[in-house]
Symmetry: C3
Subunit: 189 residues, 3 copies
């Protein structure tokens, strides 16, 4: 099983995924968490293109694209021998708009079984981010957060049509992480 | 003409499609209603893989996929010689999320002219389903119904981009089935 | 750079794009505005298929499709030697539903860097259209305008996934065209 887990910052996707994996481990179902960006970094480091993660964004777009594809191939192979939760972005908000995290070629290489989108209320995400001092500078409005989550559903549907995967939307409202984790465990089972 | 007609349970898509076809028959335009699942069942029965429809879901995913593709080929051919209303699902709600009803390969084989999505208000659908004793067990919340309809629009757009079809959204509010049927007749004409 | 600019009638997309281009021209960044329909018309005229634009819609769908593809090839080449703002439709509202403006083959030929969707409030668009005497006949309801804008986001996401482009949503509320133009200038820079 290869389950892609996405969710914009502040949705608590990592908490939900970790709790779900713990729950399943207790039932004897083992999952490994893989972060797309980390796999890309390791490939680039192995090729001596970078020494630390900050240098990744300085690579030319063409080199980044090649590494992204090599990572997809590697993760797809991992998913054939193990249960993988792949932590990545449905879309990345850039100054030029929403960049798809899984463009056609990548999602077809990955062949995920399920694409999960963890969501929270836009106002809750806004509040959670305000409490996070590392994010103070680029504060998004509630309306922008709502738009990003809306667009991610659109991207998710396109990914599913191209790869044949299911798309699962999981709501993670404040104080209900256990319930959201239970729902995710149901997907991973 | 091959017109795919979708709509989640409780939208009244079959009523709307049937009324539209009757209306057109009166004007001399003949359409045949084909149900995707029935075509698949007939193919599987012809291969002696199943004897009744309940056995269909017990076929392995790979076999189901092969039959789904053979059905697409068959329906595409039917659409070249006749006007077909194809009754199917935009997406199927499964425990692992929304499964696209017309993944890339299928929608490209079908080459539909139009993909219709029949919608009703989520609260109306909820009420209609409560009145249907066969659905009592798996009652969906109004919010879940709203989400399913939202995702189906996303799927519909992806299908259109991949196949070049038009996507038509038809609202079927309570007591307005004739108006909705009139709109669908306009699409079929 | 090839930036596709879309927006349904009444969003003010042309005003916003023109203002953004003027702003950038003042900073020494030159963009050329190309209208998809005009490129198609010129190709058809060059082949002596039509003499004026009204005749374009009378061409058979197959001929229109061929010309649409030749236009995509031509615009893609233009975008390799210059900065292009491509004025076109995200989807076209037809009696048979929303027709994608950039079906798979076209968006892959164009390889745009960014797809911009200019939006305004559905009620504002409705009001603006009422003030436009050329549109009086086919007045759309506020609800239909909202639906068209919603579907265009879905189409935009599918285009991005297929082409690798970013999708940028720019709001253009009444009286804020300068702000919207500033946002578009940021995309074009």
């Amino acid at each position: 099983m290869l389950v892609v887990v996405t969710g914009i910052p502040g949705t608590g996707k990592t908490t939900v995924a970790t709790k779900a994996m713990e729950k399943l481990a207790g039932e004897g179902v083992k999952y490994e968490m893989v972060t797309y960006g980390t796999v890309m970094f390791e490939i680039a480091k192995g090729k001596k293109l970078v020494e630390n993660r900050d240098e990744m964004r300085k690579l030319s777009p063409d080199v980044q694209k090649t590494i992204q594809e090599q990572a997809a191939k590697k993760i797809h192979l991992m998913g054939m021998n193990a249960n993988i939760v792949l932590d990545t972005h449905c879309s990345i908000k850039t100054p030029k708009g929403y960049l798809p995290g899984l463009p056609e070629k990548i999602v077809k290489m990955l062949e995920p079984n399920v694409i999960v989108i963890v969501e929270s209320g836009a106002d809750e995400i806004h509040l959670r981010r305000q409490g996070d001092p590392t994010r103070a500078r680029d504060a998004e409005s509630v309306e922008d957060i709502r738009l990003h989550q809306d667009m991610n559903r659109n991207f998710g549907a396109a990914y599913a049509v191209l790869s044949g995967a299911c798309v699962k939307i999981i709501q993670n409202p404040q104080g209900k992480a256990d319930q959201a984790a239970g729902e995710m465990a149901g997907v991973l089972k």
